[in-house]
């Protein structure tokens, strides 16, 4: 765990941060050096991404699960093996998205814990400095979050039409796991947007937010989200975790 000093959430020197971010963004092309430092970055994958490694695994497990599901029949008739491999890949993907790629690629994270009375408390974290987030990362993240759900829905339709009942296990697992992440990040990004709006409507640094493009980032994400409005998430949810 990091010390409070390291937190991106500290807001005491907010204005300075935004000024710095704004000027550095103008001075140099964003994310110039970060992509060169990792192995995946050196390979030239995900150009413009700040976290090519995270982006790779964000896409890799999803793609592998779909490919194994589609093409394993050509190589083996062992249902158990294929099923286990698929489910493990989907579980790894769920873990990667929930715990790693979300926080690195779009600065969001959702988790929940159980209170004394058995009620579930959702906690949504979001990085305050959205200028740290690369455009490529954001597109890859949200695209790869939604696309597999669509693909697996199609598989569901095909499996039902072909009466391949046993494969419904894999499809159900895929839809449950990707659905959980979609709901989690949808709520999370909605709350992040709300936090920014509260901040902006407070009259502080509203213009600075537009300057560094946070407004665009957040509304872009938000427009994706607005269709599926879940339970109300108060802005105090994060604080309640103390």
């Amino acid at each position: 765990m990091s010390k409070p000093d390291d937190l991106a959430f500290l807001t005491t020197d907010m204005n300075d941060d935004y000024n710095e971010a704004a000027t550095s963004a103008q001075a140099a092309p964003l994310f110039g050096e970060a992509e060169e430092t990792t192995l995946v970055g050196k390979l030239g994958l995900f150009k413009g991404s700040r976290h090519p490694g995270a982006a790779l695994f964000h896409v890799l497990f999803k793609a592998l699960a779909v490919l194994v599901y589609m093409f394993s029949g050509m190589f083996t008739s062992n249902f158990v093996l294929v099923c286990v491999v698929c489910i493990l890949l989907l579980a790894f993907d769920f873990w990667t998205v929930k715990n790693v790629s979300g926080r690195l690629m779009v600065g969001l994270r959702w988790w929940n814990y159980v209170k004394e009375d058995g009620a579930t408390e959702w906690v949504f974290e979001s990085a305050d400095d959205a200028s740290e987030i690369s455009d490529v990362d954001r597109r890859v993240f949200w695209g790869a979050l939604y696309a597999p759900a669509v693909v697996w829905s199609l598989f569901l339709l095909v499996a039902i039409l072909q009466l391949k009942v046993q494969w419904l296990i894999v499809i159900a697992a895929a839809l449950c796991l990707s659905g959980a992440n979609i709901v989690g990040y949808t709520k999370c990004s909605k709350e992040a947007r709300q936090r920014i709006e509260n901040f902006a409507s407070g009259g502080v640094a509203g213009s600075l937010i537009n300057q560094v493009g946070i407004g665009n980032v957040i509304s872009g994400i938000g427009s994706l989200m607005s269709k599926s409005s879940g339970a109300a998430t108060g802005p105090q949810a994060g604080v309640a975790a103390v």
């Binding site: 991106a8 959430f9 807001t11 286990v84 926080r103 814990y113 159980v114 009375d117 046993q166 103390v242």
Partner: protein
């Protein structure tokens, strides 16, 4: 400041990936240990199990499905695997919903987590039966192994469900827990 309490919140946004993995693995290991090792006091056990995860249940469920499908006849392997997998998850969900409807103060996943981890002793039993099979065909011995594992499996869950449900409805909540584990135990017992 727009959120004064914010800097007191333990954040996990910027931790290294290795730390994230290790924390989760340690959690799974600790919970498994809690379920396996008998304790005098259940107090700390239940508190620990409140931080749920589904990794343990997934691993336990896959392992059980694989062990039972290995011992099944060739033609029925897929069916057995699928059946065990579905029984574990759907069964856990039904037991949980039942407890919730009876007024239990428990989150859905928390309960599924505990039920899932508690299957582990039955896993050991299934593996033992598989190993014992070439040595002895004794049904009595197998029944003994499964019986001990069944008791071991139900212990944690029964205590947990007993605690979250008020006394007069307790039997109604615990009864399906027994049903759940006996069904799994029965599937282990009838394996060839």
């Amino acid at each position: 400041m727009f959120e004064p309490g914010r800097d007191l919140v333990e954040t996990t946004l910027d931790e290294p990936v290795r730390e994230t993995i290790m924390r989760d693995l340690r959690e799974v290991g600790a919970k498994l240990k809690l379920v396996i090792l008998p304790r005098v006091s259940q107090e700390g056990v239940l508190d620990r199990l409140k931080e749920w995860d589904l990794w343990g249940p997934l691993a336990v469920c896959l392992a059980l499905s694989i062990v039972l499908s290995v011992s099944a006849p060739e033609a029925q392997r897929a069916l057995v695997f699928a059946a065990v997998f579905v029984v574990v998850w759907v069964g856990a969900a039904i037991v949980t919903l039942n407890a919730q409807l009876l007024g239990g103060r428990i989150s859905f996943f928390q309960s599924v987590c505990i039920l899932g981890y508690s299957i582990f002793p039955l896993n050991v039993g299934a593996l033992l039966c598989l190993v014992l099979h070439p040595v002895t065909k004794s049904l009595l011995l197998r029944a003994l192994v499964v019986g001990v594992c069944f008791a071991w499996s139900t212990r944690v869950s029964v205590v947990f469900f007993g605690e979250i449900i008020e006394a007069k409805r307790r039997a109604l909540a615990i009864y399906p827990v027994f049903g759940f584990y006996s069904f799994i135990a029965w599937m282990i017992l009838i394996q060839k």
